[in-house]
């Protein structure tokens, strides 16, 4: 079954800005789906329409087969939304915020209280449950948004940049929690600017740019399209020139660092053999950028150029 089905979705704002140009998208039940795109690409508009905060100009959105436009209440009952911006009442306590949210979804107060305690403990916020929420740190507020979105146990959880501005330790614990939720059967749609987050967590991906889907496939398939990878090699001793290796592009960034661009068809062994023959000792090696990031930049740039050309 499809958790989300988006058909020919268009949105033009009153000021004339075309945010979505007819998007088609499908997310299967149980999927962990990444929705990526640069700022202003249309991600937030799309999420706004799915969660009924934004009215679509044209097209239809279905959540588990129920149309958001035709049967809003039943569609909304299945969605949990973690918004990009903190949008709870900062003069209320986390426990009350979650219990009230449960009430809006018809969760009886006693059950909502139990769930509030469960999710606050799970997200390591229980000791702050009865503190005024404006006193929480940025990371705590983000976790509270997740706990609030889970209180009615939605079948589709939408996370709009949930880890923005969150330190790596908390980010990792949030990933763990979200993975756990997904394993338990909740479909997850994630938008993020941390592309390693999408690469590590998600199975399928859509990239949106200028209001259009420019890529929609599995993460594995997308990564297989990466024909050249760039590595940074740290050297033990300084060098003045780089050796020439057939089919591999080497550039000296500084006397202790080489940047190597290697087509997927070439073996890394070949690079290391050549370096060894030239008397160069490599102490460490890393990807220049995250693999998904590299593809993302290429896809978005390509789309940008196409748009510019078509405008020209």
């Amino acid at each position: 079954m499809l958790a989300l089905e988006v058909k020919n979705l268009k949105k033009t704002y009153q000021n004339g800005v075309v945010a979505l140009k007819g998007i088609d998208l499908e997310v299967s039940e149980g999927d962990f789906f990444a929705l990526l795109g640069p700022n202003g690409a249309g991600k937030s508009t799309l999420i706004g329409i799915i969660s009924s905060l934004v009215n679509a100009s044209e097209g239809e959105t279905k959540v588990f087969g129920v149309s958001v436009q035709k049967d809003r209440s039943r569609a909304m009952a299945e969605i949990g939304l973690v918004p990009q911006e903190v949008n709870f009442n900062q003069f209320e306590k986390p426990f009350d915020i979650i219990v009230n949210q449960g009430g809006y979804y018809g969760v009886p107060r006693a059950v909502a209280k139990e769930r509030a305690e469960y999710y606050l403990k799970k997200l390591e916020l229980w000791d702050k449950a009865f503190t005024m929420s404006r006193a929480l740190s940025g990371g705590m507020k983000r976790r509270l948004l997740i706990a609030r979105a889970m209180v009615h146990e939605p079948r589709l959880l939408i996370l709009d940049e949930p880890t923005a501005g969150v330190d790596i330790e908390i980010r990792r614990s949030m990933w763990q929690f979200i993975e756990e939720i997904n394993r338990a059967g909740t479909t997850v749609i994630l938008t993020t600017h941390y592309l390693e987050e999408a690469e590590n967590l998600c199975r399928n991906i859509a990239i949106i740019d200028h209001g259009e889907i420019v890529e929609n496939t599995t993460i594995k398939h997308l990564l297989s399209k990466l024909d050249i990878e760039t590595f940074i090699l740290d050297l033990r001793a300084p060098i003045e020139t780089v050796p020439s290796i057939d089919g591999i592009e080497l550039a000296l960034k500084d006397p202790h660092t080489i940047e190597a661009s290697i087509p997927k068809s070439r073996s890394l062994n070949r690079l290391f053999r050549a370096l060894e023959e030239a008397g160069i000792e490599v102490t460490s090696m890393r990807n220049k950028v995250n693999r998904l990031e590299e593809l993302f930049i290429r896809l978005v740039n390509a789309e940008g150029q196409t748009s510019q050309e078509s405008v020209a």
Binding site: N55, F64, R74, N89, N100, G106, R148
Partner: protein, 261 residues
């Protein structure tokens, strides 16, 4: 899926909004419950006890007794209006209105929750002011059912008016414009301090366009048994006023005016 969207789930949603509103009223009691009581006490002292003695009688009764229903009504109107305006606009301003907008609750439940909260505040404040008034003018009750029904209908009507203000308000200034420039003059000219029968010919006719005249007089009938207007006309006008405002509020919420993009 149907269990998540049912009459029971909507009832829980309504209760939640109401509990949240009452919690807010109690949490900020120094802003919501005490100021109207202090203001009305001053009104009773100045207009009732000090100036009232010189005024003598109004409508065959001591001036102090005459102004009690009008002052209670003044409190009910400003508090029911102000409660929804500030609460709803506050939720909009703080963006936590989105908690409700993305929920399965239909617009009429959201509206009912906010209106009920305002009615609760209006009733509590109304009772407190009535208790203060009783210290100056003694307890009087001609017809409790008329008194209660007019109190509730009036607070519902003005809460709906406050909701419309909250929907359109873009900044904090916007929530004080209507109460200051429209509501207050209408209330003061609505027969709170005088009987409209004292007005000269044409002004008497003009004052009958003001719906607050009917609310104040019907409420005065409930407490004192006197009114400048027929009771059934007052009920018809208050109910009609309420129905029109309810329809406007519902339409605004359904279309998401000022709320959904």
């Amino acid at each position: 899926m149907s269990e998540k969207v049912s009459a029971k789930s909507f009832w829980i949603g309504y209760q939640t909004i109401l509990i949240k509103e009452i919690t807010r009223i109690v949490r900020i009691w120094a802003q919501t419950l005490i100021p109207p009581v202090i203001t009305m006490t001053l009104y009773f002292v100045i207009f009732g006890a000090i100036i009232g003695r010189r005024v003598g009688e109004m409508g065959d009764m001591p001036y102090m007794e005459f102004i009690v229903p009008g002052l209670i009504m003044l409190t009910v109107i400003t508090n029911s209006y102000g409660n929804v305006t500030s609460s709803f606009f506050g939720a909009k301003f703080g963006k936590h209105i989105e908690e409700l907008l993305i929920s399965p609750l239909p617009p009429w439940i959201i509206l009912a929750g906010y209106i009920s909260g305002a009615v609760v505040r209006a009733l509590v404040v109304g009772v407190l002011v009535w208790l203060v008034a009783s210290m100056f003018a003694g307890f009087q009750m001609h017809n409790i059912w008329v008194t209660l029904s007019i109190l509730i209908l009036t607070s519902v009507a003005f809460a709906l008016g406050g909701f419309i203000n909250g929907v359109y308000a873009q900044k904090f200034d916007d929530i004080s414009i209507i109460p200051t420039f429209v509501l207050q003059p209408m209330t003061y000219l609505g027969g709170v301090f005088f009987s409209v029968s004292l007005l000269p010919g044409i002004w008497q006719q003009i004052s009958l366009v003001n719906p607050i005249v009917y609310m104040v007089n019907a409420f005065r009938y409930g407490i004192l048994g006197v009114s400048d207007v027929p009771l059934w006309v007052a009920y018809a006008i208050i109910c009609g006023f309420g129905v029109v405002l309810f329809a406007i509020c519902l339409s605004l919420l359904q279309r998401g005016v000022g709320l959904r993009t």
